[in-house]
């Protein structure tokens, strides 16, 4: 008989204190889930409540534990079991559950409801990179020409003198070794001549500034469903633009018959009353653009989400403003949010946009009636945008 006692802190502590195989395999499981999630990411993120995170830099996706499948008999309509205790034939130990799926449920119950879920957090940046890969989305085309430029410091070459903070130890050691192997034994370990400092140079670089105008119709006809679609579309369009430009500014405008600017947090919470006048919102965008953003220094984008209902007498005015805005914008996107079953892109606002497109203005229209439409719309936006930029 041997009796071995182990304490975590003992010098002769056992190997199993050092690591946990359970943790290792659990993390591996989570990596597998991530990979699996990644494959169906467009659907998942379109449905998830991404904007609930304060910093908008991560998305929480509820996922199920992965099942390691084995051969199993199909579930019988009635499962028999043995129990123990005081019970007589006929006793009902548990009544039928109201919310329970009845007989004839789906194939593979493990994949249906009832699986244990946990929440995985994804970084929005990672998701975007995957999506761009997955959907083969083109990059945004910044404005041509050299008008938009900024200065930038970049590393360039080495020198024997410089600020101590820029000492390149690796190169310095290399110099020292070279010298010592040349002079032979007894050489000084490091001399001043060995020191190498990184140098900085000033470069002019095309600007990567962008401003995105997000215009949302908040009239009473825009219900929760529509707003959520708009919000999700905006989020991913914006995220896609942010992915490309180092500095992206945003302007949030909500309108009914009037228009207001908002902070990002408040923007999606806004409820308005009454009818819709698109021109009021567009006018506000124009004001903001003129007030704060020089189109020669900014790449400008406009997204407009509405259910498309607009007073028909407003058509002329709205078209006029859009025509004024168009040359200053890199691209304009129109997202028409509606409920399933509606005729797509057949509304007042859709007509305006169609006319613009006919005139060769860089713009695109996207119909959204459920989560599944989000990614096709985002993809269409980035492809249209690339085509438009090429055409210019």
């Amino acid at each position: 008989m041997t009796l071995i006692e182990t304490h975590g802190s003992d010098a002769d502590g056992h190997w199993y204190d050092l690591f946990s195989r359970g943790t290792r395999d659990w993390l591996r499981h989570n990596r597998r889930v991530r990979e699996a999630v990644r494959e169906q990411l467009p659907d998942l993120v379109a449905g998830s409540d991404i904007l609930s995170r304060p910093d908008n830099r991560t998305v929480q996706v509820p996922v199920k534990f992965m099942e390691h499948y084995r051969f199993r008999l199909r579930d019988p309509s009635e499962q028999e079991g043995a129990g123990q205790g005081q019970a007589e034939p006929g006793d009902v130990l548990r009544p039928a559950q109201p919310g329970h799926p009845g007989a004839g449920g789906e194939e593979g119950a493990g994949e249906g409801d009832g699986g244990v879920t946990f929440v995985l957090e994804f970084r929005v940046d990672d998701i975007l990179d995957w999506l761009w890969e997955e959907l083969e989305l083109p990059n945004l085309q910044p404005k041509q020409g050299d008008s938009v430029e900024t200065d930038e410091l970049i590393r360039e070459g080495w020198d024997r003198r410089g600020a101590r903070s820029r000492l390149d130890r690796r190169r310095t050691m290399r110099e020292a070794i070279k010298r010592r192997s040349a002079t032979g034994p007894g050489a000084v370990p490091i001399s001043n001549d060995d020191l190498r400092f990184r140098q900085l140079a000033r470069r002019r670089k095309p600007s990567t500034n962008a401003v995105v105008f997000l215009l949302l119709d908040v009239s009473s006809s825009m219900d929760e469903h529509c707003r959520k679609l708009a919000k999700t579309f905006f989020f991913w369009a914006l995220a896609g633009i942010r992915r490309q430009f180092s500095a992206v500014e945003t302007v949030f405008v909500a309108h009914t018959v009037e228009a207001w600017t908002f902070e990002e947090e408040a923007f999606f919470q806004v409820h308005g009353q009454g009818g819709t006048r698109s021109s009021s919102g567009l006018l506000k965008v124009e004001e903001e653009l003129e007030a704060g953003y020089d189109p020669s220094r900014y790449n400008c984008y406009l997204f407009y989400a509405t259910d498309g209902h607009n007073f028909s007498e407003d058509r002329g005015k709205a078209t006029e403003i859009l025509a004024r805005l168009a040359p200053q914008m890199n691209f304009m996107g129109y997202a028409e949010v509606s409920h399933a079953g509606h005729r797509r892109l057949d509304t007042e606002v859709a007509i305006i946009w169609r006319e613009l497109a006919a005139l060769g203005v860089p713009c695109g229209s996207y119909a959204l009636s459920d989560d599944g439409d989000i990614w096709p719309a985002i993809r269409a936006f980035f492809t249209d945008q690339a085509d438009a930029a090429e055409a210019v």
Binding site: G22, D25, H29, F71, R72, L73, Q84, D91, A103
Partner: protein, 466 residues
């Protein structure tokens, strides 16, 4: 006076010897409870890495944190036995556990299923499993995690599909071996015999050359239950390290099978012995005895918490009560014979009598898909079947290799007649997926739908490609 565990163990062992227990030496090891959790999850102290263990582990951790499950001991049969005890348990609890472990050690040395399994697998499963794990880690280093994982996905999914009626080290089928070694006397003898009777007197001539091209022997010659072995032996395009993994999983399954098939007997036997050893241990201070028995009644009880009715039968309790009666009525010697010769199937059918079932208040219930659970009117045979049903065939549907096709295609068939109903189709397709990734030729499975019509399943095709 208090007794340390170091003092208790040798005295308990001496007492066990006196009472007729025979066991290989036991190495006791006190380990942190986190490690115990892992042993319970993996089934072995060091085992091959796989994500599915991670899922079981997190479940176990959550349950443990919520206080729903507590693991007292794990013992691995062998020579020596390796027993693990939780270092945070009290000395009294662990004294009981030591006695319990000695009961297990006696069982695993004398029960014929265990003895057979150990003669096949060897007496050092703990070390062997660690060696498998080590080998797999090495393979991961060379071929990468993804490829190894794909093989483990398949091998571990097929874990219960073995055939312990066949030896662990099992040669390929006769017919295929002789085909390989053509020209030997043994291989030639058969065709000669067949040629002679290929044509009966009076039969038309001209067909005489047909027997020259004898159809190659059918593989497998009979439906093959050991899927792990068959795939390792006959997969057309598997690499050696992949076959090794299949055989490693198979070896561990050979070890697990008697544990699974004797759970009620084995836990009951150990519980009977810890109760008896503690009762007869005069070296134990009386307070310690009381504390030990408190632990005993926690382990060996039919209900969880305060409830008076349970939808599961605690194997410790069931086995314990049956053994008590057997020893009481037939004597210890007869009980030892039962212990040596039976598994749970015989044990329950032969010793769970109508009287015992009444005394234990066992019942059968039916759980409907709408959630309703109703106690049914059942006879003893139905009770036996309900208890044993989940244990048949290592707890898995009966799936056999039907045919290895000429083009390397693998045809599996579920034995619907014995299983009573078809497979869960979605899961079965996923498993075919796993298999396809190592078999690399078409894989088909025959099962049936709800109405009993035959269905041909193919791999799902989904999932991540290799």
């Amino acid at each position: 006076m208090t007794l340390t565990l170091e003092q208790a163990v040798p005295r308990m062992e001496a007492l066990a010897r006196e009472l007729g227990l025979e066991h290989y030496p036991v190495d006791f090891e006190l380990v942190p409870s986190a490690f115990m959790t892992e042993i319970a999850v993996y089934g072995l102290p060091v085992r091959m890495p796989h994500w599915s263990f991670g899922v079981r582990w997190i479940y176990q951790m959550v349950q443990h944190r919520m206080g729903h499950s507590r693991i007292f001991e794990v013992v691995f049969p062998g020579n020596p036995n390796r027993a693990f005890l939780v270092d945070t348990n009290s000395v009294e609890e662990n004294t009981l556990v030591v006695a319990h472990v000695l009961g297990h050690a006696d069982f695993s040395r004398n029960n014929l299923l265990f003895a057979h399994s150990q003669s096949q697998v060897g007496y050092h499963i703990v070390e062997q499993a660690a060696a498998h794990a080590h080998r797999i880690e090495e393979v991961i280093e060379t071929v990468g995690e993804r490829r190894v994982e794909a093989v483990l996905d398949a091998a571990l999914a097929l874990e219960p599909h073995i055939d312990t009626d066949q030896p662990l080290n099992r040669p390929r089928y006769e017919s295929t071996r002789s085909a390989a070694g053509a020209g030997t006397a043994e291989a030639d003898a058969e065709p000669e015999f067949q040629d002679r009777y290929a044509m009966l007197p009076g039969e038309a001539e001209g067909l005489g050359d047909a027997p020259q091209h004898r159809a190659p022997p059918r593989i497998p010659p009979h439906p093959e239950r050991d899927l792990l072995w068959f795939i390792a032996q006959y997969a057309p395009e598997m690499e050696d390290w992949e076959r090794d993994i299949f055989l490693a999983v198979r070896k561990e399954a050979y070890y697990f099978q008697p544990v699974f098939n004797c759970q009620i007997m084995n836990e009951g036997w150990a519980s009977y012995w810890h109760a008896r050893l503690l009762r007869e241990a005069d070296f134990l201070p009386s307070q310690a005895y009381v504390d030990c028995m408190k632990t005993h009644s926690d382990v060996v009880r039919p209900y969880g918490g305060d409830s008076r009715i349970s939808l599961q039968v605690n194997p410790y309790h069931l086995g314990y009560v049956l053994w008590q009666h057997i020893v009481e009525n037939d004597g210890l010697e007869a009980a030892r014979a039962v212990m040596s010769q039976e598994d749970d199937f015989g044990f329950v059918r032969n010793y769970l009598t109508a009287e015992r079932a009444r005394e234990l208040e066992l019942f059968v219930y039916a759980a409907r898909q709408d959630g309703q659970i109703r106690v049914t009117d059942s006879n003893l045979a139905e009770l036996h079947e309900t208890l044993l049903g989940p244990k048949y065939n290592f707890g898995a549907p009966r799936v056999v290799v039907e045919e290895l096709q000429r083009d390397g295609g693998l045809v599996l068939r579920q034995n619907v007649a014995d299983d009573g109903r078809g497979l869960d189709l979605a899961r079965a397709r996923h498993v075919l997926d796993y298999i396809y990734r190592v078999w690399r030729r078409p894989v088909t499975l025959l099962t049936c739908d709800e109405r009993g019509r035959e269905l041909r399943l193919e791999p799902d095709g989904g999932g991540d490609a290799d």
